[in-house]
């Protein structure tokens, strides 16, 4: 092991000064990281937050000198343990990377080499930097796998990455990161690709490893909840600049930069009340076309004329606090209160006395477990006799729910639970294996394909990735207009006028009609997709993760838009999301799915308060809150979701359930049954009392005075 005895106690481990990285383009260079300065002490965790394109990753990669052409570091110093990394030769950097500064990448699925065993990948790093024999390296690798909580490390070391689940692969990456006992770990969105229950486990692991090894961590994330859970210090980035640095509590209690305030406010919190989300207008400016003056000024609610005139303000200390902010008005603004939430109408009461608009009865969708005609046939031995068995992936297994006019029903669950399949089967984009779907009382299975096609006018869909859902070769006007034409709503000049009206309605300029999708930002593209769905005046819109590809400030805008449209047009939504805060914010009723089944269904209040299905409870408890004061005791689930080819016997959740009562859970499949008159249904063998350890996740932990301020 290398020794760094010369360490003066007060010298920070990492000190970045005026780091500037830019990318060459046809025009003037684009500055992705603009004179960023911060420092990080040994053993500390600093978060770098910001929306996509803010320059977080570029800054981190610049520190490790991992910038490829056409990017280049053009200025500043990066003092790591007193030495300037920017002065080092490439060979010296190679000795530092992975050894003294390690990186934990974002995507556990593509960051491990599929043709090497995980053991080889860990020992590779160890042997590159440490003078040990192959045998010793293997011992060290097993040890490090043990430390990151991979069970049976000794047996699993020779397994290939595909034999591990996503969470376990991320653990392997953590093990590789920590294998050489680095001084600094850079974690680039380490949990973004993971489900919320897995995320909770990985964050706990990172916290624990960091405490044990005394490693400093630079945590790059867009999720303020993750920051609140892991960091000591936070740096907020916007358009390539660090706009605020502060201690964690300080940042959340009293942000000094208006952008930080806006970022915190636009997160739909699990505990917060149902109202309009305060939003920032617009989106982050294009780095190639930055506004003069403060880069944030065009979106800033507190901007004055000075802000647009005097260039981008530098990062300076504010008053006597430890915070630094790049805002001319930082000293005069008091941003400690959340922006007054525009008092909406409160939670609307949906009238459920009439007939439901949309009903799903016992919907099943099985996919063949292999490719081709015989791909899913498997030879098994039953009672000593070999038998052929057809295997299916039970993506959706016996799901029933209904949607009333003007209502939003949410489907929430982790990836692979079948929520998207439910939506697609319900809309007949996939043909269901069994079960029936009724639209205004008409069973869809009795309709021919032509009738289904004309029924599409009533049911529309908004997709997750707006970039992919808009045909790149067509103008926005053609895309939106086509829907009107198809269903004979408007043609010719009338169509053109209506397209423009509609674009204006969703918050775009009228001339957007003549542009191509790629000319818009992600949020604007999603607005086009919403306009496309609205063009045929549907009664039901299925929203499949409509905001999960968007930044939080844009996400808030889209959620508000969807709410607004619903209030005006009385449209029903089937809203699919893995983000519990978003579900909590937008839905009237919600179905929690696990392994192709609904385990709990009811109104938001019902589902988010006792009694809970054990899965709902652990799911809700795992959500990281963007509030460092708020401690929820997490219920961490053992293991990972079982394969839907071979679901567990009895209750699908029994293999991981922390409240399993024994045999009955393994033998009998619980029924989704009402537990009160309000239509709250839970599928569990436990009694309601046993499911009610805690009261509710809704109760806001806000101090009382801020609540009275709100209600005024």
């Amino acid at each position: 092991m290398t020794t760094h005895e010369s360490d003066p106690s007060n010298r920070p481990l990492l000190e970045v000064r005026d780091l500037k990285t830019q990318f060459r383009t046809d025009g003037p260079p684009v500055v992705a990281s603009n004179e960023v300065s911060f420092s990080l002490d040994r053993g500390e965790t600093m978060g770098l937050v910001g929306e996509s394109g803010a320059g977080k990753s570029v800054t981190a990669r610049s520190i490790m000198r991992l910038i490829d052409s056409p990017g280049e570091i053009v200025g500043g110093t990066v003092l790591f343990d007193g030495e300037d990394l920017l002065e080092k030769s490439e060979a010296e950097m190679r000795d530092i990377r992975g050894n003294r500064i390690a990186m934990i990448p974002q995507d556990p699925m593509s960051s491990l080499n599929p043709v090497m065993t995980v053991g080889e990948q860990i020992t590779e790093t160890i042997r590159r930097h440490q003078d040990v024999s192959a045998g010793e390296a293997r011992e060290l690798a097993i040890e490090s796998m043990d430390e990151v909580g991979i069970p049976d490390a000794e047996e699993r070391i020779d397994d290939y990455p595909h034999e591990f689940s996503g969470g376990m692969r991320q653990r392997v990456l953590v093990a590789i990161g920590f294998s050489c006992e680095p001084d600094l770990i850079m974690a680039d969105e380490p949990t973004t690709a993971l489900d919320v229950t897995t995320q909770a486990k990985i964050l706990d692991l990172l916290n624990e490893m960091q405490r044990r090894e005394g490693t400093a961590v630079l945590m790059i994330t867009h999720n303020l909840g993750v920051v609140a859970q892991t960091c000591d210090h936070v740096g907020v980035m916007y358009a390539g600049n660090l706009v605020e640095t502060a201690a964690l509590d300080e940042l959340f209690d009293r942000p000094r930069h208006p952008y930080t305030r806006a970022l915190i406010d636009s997160i739909p919190e699990v505990g917060a009340d149902y109202d309009e989300l305060p939003t920032l207008e617009g989106a982050m400016p294009d780095l190639g076309d930055l506004p003069t003056g403060c880069h944030f000024a065009p979106r800033c609610p507190h901007a004055t004329e000075v802000c647009t005139r005097d260039g981008n303000p530098p990062l300076e200390s504010v008053g006597d606090s430890s915070s630094r902010a790049a805002c001319l008005h930082a000293a005069d603004l008091d941003l400690s209160e959340p922006t007054a939430r525009e008092s909406g109408t409160g939670r609307r009461e949906t009238d459920r006395s009439g007939d439901p608009l949309f009903e799903v009865h016992n919907l099943k969708k099985y996919f063949s477990a292999g490719e081709g005609f015989l791909g899913n046939v498997r030879l098994t031995r039953e009672d000593g006799r070999p038998t052929l068995e057809r295997r299916y992936v039970k993506a959706v297994d016996d799901v029933s729910f209904d949607i009333y006019p003007g209502e939003t029903v949410g489907l929430v669950g982790e990836s692979g639970c079948g929520k998207s399949t439910v939506a697609r089967s319900a809309l007949r984009l996939l043909s269901p294996t069994d079960g029936e779907v009724y639209f205004e009382g008409t069973p869809l299975s009795e309709l021919g394909s032509r009738e289904i096609r004309s029924l599409r006018r009533e049911m529309q869909m908004i997709f997750q990735d707006p970039q992919s859902s808009l045909n790149p070769r067509k103008t926005v006007g053609q895309i939106v207009g086509r829907a009107m034409e198809k269903h004979g709503i408007a043609t010719g000049d009338e169509k053109r006028v209506r397209v423009r009206d509609l674009l204006e309605r969703v918050g775009l300029a009228r001339d957007a009609a003549s542009k191509y999708p790629h000319e818009f930002s992600g949020g604007q593209q999603q607005r086009v997709a919403i306009a496309h769905a609205l063009a045929v005046e549907p009664k039901l819109i299925v929203c499949d993760e409509p905001v999960s590809a968007l930044d939080v400030s844009v996400q808030a805008q889209i959620l508000n838009l969807l709410n607004e449209i619903q209030t005006e047009e009385d449209i029903s939504y089937l809203f699919i999301s893995h983000n519990i805060g978003v579900i909590r914010h937008i839905c009237d009723r919600v179905a929690v799915m696990y392994l192709g089944k609904i385990v709990e269904f009811g109104s938001i209040e019902d589902v988010f308060s006792a009694p809970f299905h054990p899965y709902t409870e652990s799911l809700l408890s795992a959500v990281p809150h963007a509030n460092p004061d708020r401690e929820t005791d997490r219920i961490l689930l053992e293991g990972s979701v079982p394969s839907p080819i071979d679901p567990p016997s009895g209750c699908p959740f029994q293999t991981r359930c922390p409240k399993k009562i024994g045999d009955v859970c393994e033998r009998e499949e619980p029924v989704l049954e009402s537990i009160d008159e309000g239509g709250h249904r839970i599928s569990c063998h436990l009694s309601t009392a046993e499911m009610s350890d805690r009261a509710s996740f809704i109760t806001p932990s806000e101090p009382p005075e801020s609540r009275t301020a709100d209600s005024d």
């Binding site: 046809d26 599409r456 045909n471 006007g477």
Partner: protein, 299 residues
Amino acid sequence: MTVEHETRDGRFTLTQSQRERIARFVRKFRNNTKAMVGLSLVVLLVLVAIFAPLIAPYNYEETNIQVRSQAPSAAHLFGTDDLGRDIFSRVVMGSRISLYVGFGAISGAIVIGAIIGVVAGYSGGLTDEILMRVMDAAMAFPPVLLALTLLVVLGPELSNVVIALAFVYTPYIARVSRSAALAERNEAYVEAAVARGESDTRIIFSEVFPNTMAPMLVQGSLNVSFAILAEASLSFLGLGAQPPKPSWGLMINTGRGFMETAPWMLLFPALAIGIAVVGFNMLGDGLRDVLDPKVEAIE
């Protein structure tokens, strides 16, 4: 920033966006040496073909016993052949045959291949399986051999060469367009179109097809050079253009017998083929670079 472009007649005439798109394509194309060299050669060839009667100093069919097998000179730039015909004139006129066959065959191949490919790629399943296995079977034959067989059936004539080569190159186009369609099929805009109630036919031709054109153009322009070469081979073998048509392949075949005494009879048509093949190849290669979305992303 954004200017209000309310067009007078209220139609969606594409203004700035389209111009920007074209401008960006042109800029990238210009910066690509390969594409520019290729384009210059192809343009040169096309111009020669168009103005051939004006460029050619002699009639390509006119024999002149007095000037048999003469070496290149001021009067006959490329020399003369065994019948005293001016080789320069013949090479110039021959460009028409090569381009006619090249463009004709590949246009045909693109029309048929694209339909087969897009339908197969979008439909998947059994349709895909059947269509593509047929294409694979056609591809299993060496192109020239297959074209030869077809020509034996159809009869040795230039228009038949076009038909035969169109048939031969269809599978290559189909394959490329199928894989492009396969990728597009998984884009959400296709699902959005289904959710909007569009028919399969409309989705295939109006939504998917325009997005598969870029790789097809690249494959097409590469295949033009193969078709030109194939025509030369077929004519060389006597099943393509018939004498006295000034096909380059045919000229090489005739020149073969005089290789030692009059090498120019063989050299200049061969050079012409070389230029045509290199030109279309470089154009295709360059187009691939220019149209590659990954290159665009870096920009």
